[in-house]
Each structure stands twice: as structure tokens, then as C-alpha cells.
Symmetry: none
DNA sequence: GTGGTCTAGACCACC
DNA sequence: GTGGTCTAGACCACA
């Protein structure tokens, strides 16, 4: 696995695990690679893998059985969604807000456009149904 | 200049002109490169430059004196802003809204986070003033 | 034996007896130390031991043969369990419920987490069997 | 500050910050000690303080301004409550559930006792009002 | 064998 | 100066 420089490695590892889950490579209850094994495989420090697993556990994507290893939780899938949401709010939203002030667009304006967007979607749905 | 494949070249040229304006390389009233000269310089078809200039003229960033050339309008700077805003609303906003529904985030939530974001900015400003 | 200040001494003595039973130090039908002997051994007032034995007798963990002494009842083991349960419900549960309301956690939420907890236990068991 | 061995140091540091907040020693918007300063003061590795601050940031108790430092968020107080809830679910709940199975008490039984507990509370309230 | 914590020390980007 | 990431290596508890 190749890492890029734009994002911390431990987040890229967490992402990689999420991709495996979304791709259904692993199922709920499956044991995932041990911290040390994955560290050797990815050629990084075990601490770095640890941080990735820590994140995933806090987001209830995986859970731990002491002395045994990490396992996919039952609701790993929605957990991944929740995690993606957190990342979106922390990384993309600030950039989005900066752009708003740069272009002198108020949040009120965004709200209006959002409602228009939703309406157009709903119309599309209704036409399909008809 | 290098063009990328993700966006039409004529839009990239229009963007390049906007960058010149935002960077204050050209001033209101200045004559900008002729369609043919710029086409030679950028190694593209004159029609492509033409489409870019047309777009800029529609947005009142530049205007044309028949037989003489294109000139920066007096309010080129605010014009560029308006243009950027239009592009933003047509291209980025729909993607943004789609992502919101994908991650199950309401516009209300975005509004709250925007206010938080503004507060943290203001705090930074106030500390500077003190 | 050291007593702590947080709980009445007679309850701590009753607890100590229960520990002996749960640890299988004594068997059903065995005669346990006399009130006076235990009082001397633990360096407490015989009345205090008496109160402990009374409590244990109420919970049918021990029974009394007048003039002879106290004996472990046949179902001392389940009796201790029942006793522990009563104590748990009277002492720990109210604190637990208060904490729930303090942290704004609903009983429904606890139920869900309990089911998750049971699932993870079962998974561990199944793996052992395999 | 003295640390005990029963809990990781970084959690004790996070707790210490929470206590400061609950005690109103620090107010929303206040800058808290820098990672390095606190590390020197508490005689621990900066990484350890970093982990504590990381936790607090994820729980939206504090936020970061790049190159400046960490600050108390506007809703630090509710954030602390949310954090306490997480800790309760991760640490105390498992012990509670183990005790339930040890004493052979079903979750259904707990639910009933909870309702009784709530009723007794409400009656107390009503009597006060009358 | 598993994960969990901590230290020491390095390097980076941002302000 | 600030935080953020990573490595190397140590020690611990648990299974």
C-alpha cells in the first residue's frame, strides 16, 4: 500500500479498513489483522496502526477482545458512515465555509439554494413515479 | 500553460484570465491579449480562446471594441467574484448537497456549524486586536 | 481482618462468611464458628457477629440448632446468590439509576448495549468451541 | 499533580481538564495551557498531553487554532457530560453487565426496577408540589 | 501471542 | 512559538 503525503498515515490506514468494510471484504464479527501484523505488512510503526484502530474503535466500527484482537462490530457499516461524517465536518466543511466568505455568500443563501435543490429532486422523483 | 482533463480547456483559459485580474496583473481599462495572440501563446485553437472571452464578456468582466480588441471592464474585479460565485453554485454546490444527503446531514446542522466557525474566527480576530 | 468505614461492620462480617461459602471453604451442613469464637477472632463485640448471623439466617444461608450452633443450610450457595442480589438491588441499583439520569441515558439505551455485550460474549464462546 | 496506576495518565489529564471546566476555573473561549507547557508542569511526555487534548477535541470540549493553541469550546460543559457518558459506557457498564450475569439477573428485571425507581421519584416530586 | 501506555527524540507545517 | 505525526523501543496486563 502506498501512502500519500496530504493526509496522516494513520488516517489512510483507517480509511483502508473502511474501504474493506464498504467493499464487503470483511463481515461483522470477523477478526481483522493484528496491530503488529498490519504494521509489518504496511511497513509502519505499530503505534501508527494502533492510532488508526483507536479511531475506528471510538467510532464503533471495530471492537476489541483483550488478548485476542480486533473484530468488526455488528454495525460496522453505519459506523463507517458516522466516521465519514466526522471527517467531512472536520476537513471539508471549514474549506467550504472559507470559500463562502471569500465569495461573499451568506449561509442564508446556501439554505435557499438547498431547498431549491431538494425541490428539484422531489420533482424528479414524482415524475419517475408517474 | 498546462491544461488538465477534468475541465473544458476554454473554462481553464477563462480561469487563467480571472487569476490575472485577481492578482492585479491587469487593471480596469487595459487591453488584454488578442484572441489570436493568446491562441498562439497557449497553443490552442483560436475558437477555444474565443469561447473563453465570450464567457467572460457575458459575465461583464471584459468588453469588446469592434476591430480593436478586448478590454477589462471597470468592475472586472467584482465581476470575477460574481462569476466565481456562479460557477461555485452550479458546480460545487450540487456535489456538496449530494454529499450532505449521502452522509445524512441536515442543512440546519450545517448552519449551526457555520455559526460555530464564525465564532472561532471572531475570537481569533479579537485577540489580535487586543 | 480489616474493616472499612464505608459499610457497617456486621455487613462486612456477613460478607466474609459469604466469601467462605462461595470459595467452597465450607460445605452444606458444616458447623460454622460460634458467635463467641468468631467475635474473639475478629476482635469485635459478640452482638456484632450475632447481627451478621441473624442476617444470614434471614436469608436462609445458615440455620440454628438451639444450644449447639449455626450450620450451613443445604442451599447455602444459591442463598448467598439471592442475598447478594438483594444487596445489589438495594444498594448499587439506585446509584446506577441516579447516574443514568445524571448522564441523560435512557433504560432503552442500556438494553441495547446489553444485547451488544451479550453478542460479543457469544462470539468469543463460539470461537473457543471451534 | 499525582497520577494513580489504575487509569492511563492521558485519561487522568483529560479528567483534570474536565474538572477545571466543571469547576468554572476556565470559561468558554479561554486558551488552555500549551501541550509542551503542561507536559513540563505535569512532568510527562508531550505526546501524553497530546493524547489527552486529542480526546477532548474529539468530544468537542476544546478546539484548536493552528499555531496558536487550544481553546475551550462554547459548549465545553455539555461536551464534558457527553464524554463522561462515553467513559461510563466503556468502563462501568461492562462491569455492571458482568455482575448481572453473575447474579443471574435479566435485563428485563432491571428495566422493571428502573420503572419502579422512576415512579417513586415522581411521587416524591408530586408530594413536594402539593 | 494479543493490545495499551509511555518515553525520547525527530521532523514538519503554520503563525 | 504553536500543534501534528511518526519512529524506535520499552514495559505492562491479559490469554
Amino acid at each position: 500500500m502506498r501512502f500519500n503525503d496530504t493526509q496522516p498515515i494513520f488516517l489512510q490506514i483507517a480509511d483502508w479498513v473502511c474501504e474493506r468494510i464498504l467493499a464487503r471484504d470483511w463481515s461483522p464479527g470477523d477478526r481483522i489483522p493484528s496491530v503488529r501484523d498490519l504494521a509489518v505488512e504496511l511497513e509502519v510503526n505499530p503505534n501508527t496502526v494502533m492510532r488508526a484502530y483507536e479511531r475506528l474503535q471510538q467510532n464503533e466500527v471495530i471492537f476489541n477482545k483483550r488478548g485476542i484482537g480486533y473484530f468488526l462490530s455488528e454495525d460496522a457499516y453505519p459506523g463507517v458512515l458516522a466516521m465519514r461524517k466526522t471527517e467531512f465536518c472536520e476537513q471539508e466543511l471549514p474549506l467550504f465555509f472559507k470559500k463562502l466568505s471569500l465569495l461573499n455568500i451568506s449561509i442564508k443563501e446556501i439554505e435557499e439554494k438547498y431547498n431549491q435543490f431538494q425541490n428539484s429532486l422531489n420533482q424528479g422523483e414524482n415524475e419517475k413515479e408517474q
